[in-house]
């Protein structure tokens, strides 16, 4: 699956040339905010030639999306632009929207990161696909409707004639992203800008969407601008790369060169950001911490008049054991029941089956009976922004659990424990008087970890703790978690859809699909020699990520 390259022979494609369709010169983007002006993009030069694939790489906040949003006239109302953006020689920056609308949606189209919300929930797919076609005068409503069905077929949506009448809420994330791609192709664009199009998708869906885009580009020959933080995607699909950091392009060049011999320190750091290393193995004689037999969780949908209630089995008779100091990685795509399993084991959800914690049967234990154990059994969540109270200081957040579990501590003692916990997660103890909004995603996740560590737990369920973080930050958090585990002999249940991270963290791995265990075994067995087709698909979809640290 190599993307086509339409590079004029002998031409220096690293400079704008006759084939250039989009040229961004000295583009600056500033935002007026309450706290002053933010310079999001500080004079970048990017050019895109006909038919090529250009990747713009960077971490969140690097200005990679805003550069393209500015070019398309899609900045938030407090955004200001300077510089020049030309499409086939015509200046489009600052064009009145009437003139700009002749280009965007027709010659230059976009797909976005959020497939769930990028389509209007109130209209059918058909209507939304047809609107731009009719708007740009290429089709009448009647011909557009025909074309909409063809487009859905082109992007691989089954039963296109029926699905075209569906509403977005009736489709999965992957399908919605396919619809967006169909919309982007409708008017035969010269340039397709894809802003993190696969980030919100499951790994197998991600692979399918990338494959689809590659195939379509080959067939239709448009240029693709791929905005992403994921270097494996970049290496796989792009001809040229721009690396952005803090609003500037720090390195640019052919993909092979950048990946072969990165010059800038930041590029090197990004390339090195895959979680590496392995967890030290734990003796099989270590005492059992969690032993679960036939755990089952069912959700009942409400029964209506003359409608039998429907039972959804989210976790279907799962058995597992975890020993002290071990990490069990639970892998699966969204909806596989992995988070539900984690919560059921902690008795946060009603379940059937048997759960034994440190030799003690806690199946169906009451809230009161569980309370003394809660101190030892902790949970860390995916969203570092939503899971910390914005009205409490970091110190208060960290020590809140102590108020329940160690009420005899004085305020001074609690404060001391907060300092220790912060130092343990490599943060300055002075930070305890600040509020969560002052911290980045990675720092917040460290605070969440400190909140857990302060209680000196035995078992920690980590529910996608690194999924919302940039790769470089992810790597640091993975290392931190491994060190804490070693130091305190912690037992982890590590829930994630990210195979690279799971591999770096786990002793044993369990692959889940539709509430059931597909495959279970040691990390090396699962990743190096998967037996089941589903596991093979998952590993293959994440293949490039795994290659880098195999």
């Amino acid at each position: 699956m190599r993307w086509i390259q339409k590079i004029a022979k002998g031409a220096d494609v690293t400079k704008p040339n006759d084939n250039t369709v989009l040229q961004i010169s000295n583009l600056k983007v500033d935002f007026e905010t309450n706290t002053g002006e933010v310079n999001a993009v500080k004079g970048v030069n990017i050019h895109v030639d006909a038919g090529e694939t250009v990747a713009i790489v960077g971490e969140s906040g690097s200005g990679k999306s805003q550069s393209m949003m500015a070019a398309m006239g899609l900045l938030a109302s407090n955004g200001r632009t300077q510089g020049s953006v030309t499409y086939k020689g015509e200046e489009i920056l600052g064009l009145p929207s009437g003139r700009l609308n002749k280009i965007r949606g027709a010659k230059i189209t976009m797909i976005f990161q959020e497939p769930m919300t990028s389509l209007d929930p109130l209209y059918t797919i058909e209507r939304q696909l047809c609107e731009p076609m009719v708007q740009h005068g290429n089709y009448t409503w009647a011909t557009a409707k025909k074309r909409a069905v063809e487009l859905l077929e082109l992007v691989g949506i089954p039963e296109p004639a029926r699905k075209v009448k569906a509403y977005p809420y009736e489709m999965s994330g992957g399908q919605r992203q396919r619809v967006m791609i169909a919309m982007a192709l409708a008017n035969d664009p010269d340039i397709l800008i894809a802003d993190e199009p696969t980030t919100a998708l499951d790994v197998t869906t991600q692979a399918q969407i990338l494959e689809l885009m590659a195939e379509l580009q080959e067939r239709l020959g448009m240029a693709v601008v791929f905005i992403t933080h994921d270097l494996t995607i970049v290496e796989r699909i792009s001809d040229r790369v721009y690396v952005m950091k803090q609003g500037e392009v720090v390195e640019e060049g052919a993909t092979k060169e950048i990946f072969g011999a990165p010059k800038h320190a930041y590029t090197k750091m990004l390339l090195d950001a895959e979680p590496t290393g392995r967890k030290d193995q734990v003796e099989d004689s270590a005492p059992l911490v969690v032993e679960a037999d036939d755990v089952r969780v069912e959700f009942e949908t409400e029964a209506g008049f003359l409608k039998p209630n429907h039972v959804l089995r989210a976790v279907d008779d799962i058995s597992l054991t975890v020993r002290e100091g071990q990490t069990l990685g639970i892998v699966g795509e969204s909806g596989s029941g992995k988070s539900t399993l984690g919560r059921a084991l902690l008795q946060l959800l009603p379940s059937s089956g048997r759960v034994v914690y440190c030799g003690k049967d806690i199946t169906g234990a009451s809230r009161k009976a569980m309370r003394p154990l809660r101190k030892e059994m902790q949970l860390i969540f995916q969203d570092p922004f939503g899971s910390l109270s914005p009205r409490m200081t970091v110190g208060q957040i960290i020590t809140e659990g102590l108020l329940v579990h160690e009420p005899h501590l004085s305020a001074a003692e609690r404060d001391k424990r907060a300092c220790e916990a912060l130092e343990e997660v490599s943060m300055d103890a002075a930070m305890r008087n600040r509020y969560p909004h002052e911290f980045s995603g990675g720092q917040r996740q460290r605070i969440a970890i400190a909140r857990t560590m302060v209680l000196k737990p035995k078992l920690v369920v980590l529910d996608e703790p690194t999924s919302a973080l940039d790769r470089t930050v992810q790597k640091q958090v993975v290392e931190l978690l491994r060190n804490l585990q070693k130091e305190h002999g912690l037992t982890y249940l590590f829930i994630s859809h990210d195979l690279a991270v799971v591999r770096a963290m786990s002793d044993t791995v369990m692959v889940m699909q539709k509430g059931q265990v597909v495959e279970q075994g040691s990390a090396s067995e699962i990743f190096d020699n998967p037996q089941q087709d589903y596991t093979k698909t998952l590993v293959a979809a994440a293949a490039l990520k795994l290659e880098e640290f195999a």
């Binding site: 899609l74 965007r104 919300t117 990028s118 209007d120 929930p121 609107e131 509403y167 919309m183």
Partner: protein
């Protein structure tokens, strides 16, 4: 859908029953009766009156009697307007109040909607600030201030419009009361529309619409407004019920024979049947408008389903 509406109407019956029961006993608890005057009536006269109006029966008996009549659609005779039944009073006044309220509601929706959308499109600019200032003004100035001011200006000083009266709902008689009644609603609708519109304009699917070069009209009206109107719809349900059942202040100031004044007169005169009648009418309006709101929701948002 018919089944849903039918179900909702059926489930309204117990609600209505509770309302009727509570208010029936509540009004009886209030001191005084319909025939208590400053100079008491002769005992014999009083006795006869009580007999005619069934007030000599025990309260539970009266309650059952009232329910019986109500089921047949009879609100009973008025205690105060001696020659009229409550049904006759409402037959005359309710259409007037509905006409007045519906006009005010339509005006509020159109003007408030346009103002709200304009403010949202020019968020944090001069137009936005002036509309929102006016809206705050509109909400805070009570209608018993607005009404005389308008009458003074357009009725007395300029002489363009009549200062009062209804005359079968002539346009010039309607203008001032409708505007007065609509003003605070215009303000609320404008504020609500502005808020939800700003949110809608920032949403990802509106960004998609912009990225695909759709016209400003399509973006604003088709993609942003349809979702943004939902909070306004939920507000308008109860508001419509209140507007259509008349306004005491407006009807009094402009001398309009609507149903609104009966709320006050009925209560002051201990006109038991009139009070009960107005309560039932208002309750029915509230119930019906809530059903209409839910149906509108389903119409506007395909994700809302009734099965």
């Amino acid at each position: 859908m018919m089944r849903y509406v039918l179900g909702r109407l059926l489930s309204a019956i117990p609600t209505l029953f509770l309302i009727v029961t509570i208010s029936f006993f509540l009004i009886r608890v209030a001191p005084g009766g319909p025939f208590d005057l400053e100079r008491p009536l002769e005992a014999k006269v009083m006795e006869n009156l009580n007999k005619i109006y069934n007030l000599d029966k025990s309260i539970p008996e009266q309650y059952l009697l009232y329910l019986q009549n109500l089921v047949q659609g009879e609100f009973g005779p008025s205690f105060f307007f001696r020659d009229f039944s409550i049904n006759e009073l409402f037959a005359q006044s309710l259409p007037i109040s509905i006409q007045l309220g519906l006009s005010a509601l339509t005006l509020a929706l159109i003007v408030g909607g346009i103002l709200g959308v304009s403010a949202a499109l020019r968020q944090n600019h001069g137009l936005d600030y002036s509309i929102m200032a006016a809206a705050t003004f509109g909400v805070t100035i009570p209608n018993f201030v607005v009404a005389p001011c308008l009458t003074l200006l357009f009725g007395v000083s300029l002489g363009w419009l009549p200062v009062g009266g209804w005359e079968g709902g002539k346009l010039q008689n309607m203008i001032l009361p409708v505007i007065t009644l609509a003003l605070p609603q215009v303000a609320v609708v404008a504020r609500l529309t502005r808020g939800s519109m700003i949110e809608a304009l920032r949403s990802n699917h509106v960004r998609t619409a912009r990225a695909y070069g759709l016209s400003a009209y399509t973006i604003v009206v088709v993609h942003a407004l349809r979702g943004a109107i939902l909070p306004v719809v939920s507000y308008l349900g109860p508001a419509a019920a209140a507007l259509l059942t008349g306004s005491v202040v407006i009807e009094t100031i402009f001398g309009i024979p609507g149903i609104g004044r009966y709320f006050v007169q009925g209560a002051l005169n201990r006109d038991y049947t009139l009070v009960m009648g107005t309560v039932v009418v208002v309750a029915c309006f509230v119930i019906i408008f809530n059903i209409i709101v839910d149906l509108l929701y389903a119409l506007l948002d395909p994700r809302v389903r009734f099965d």
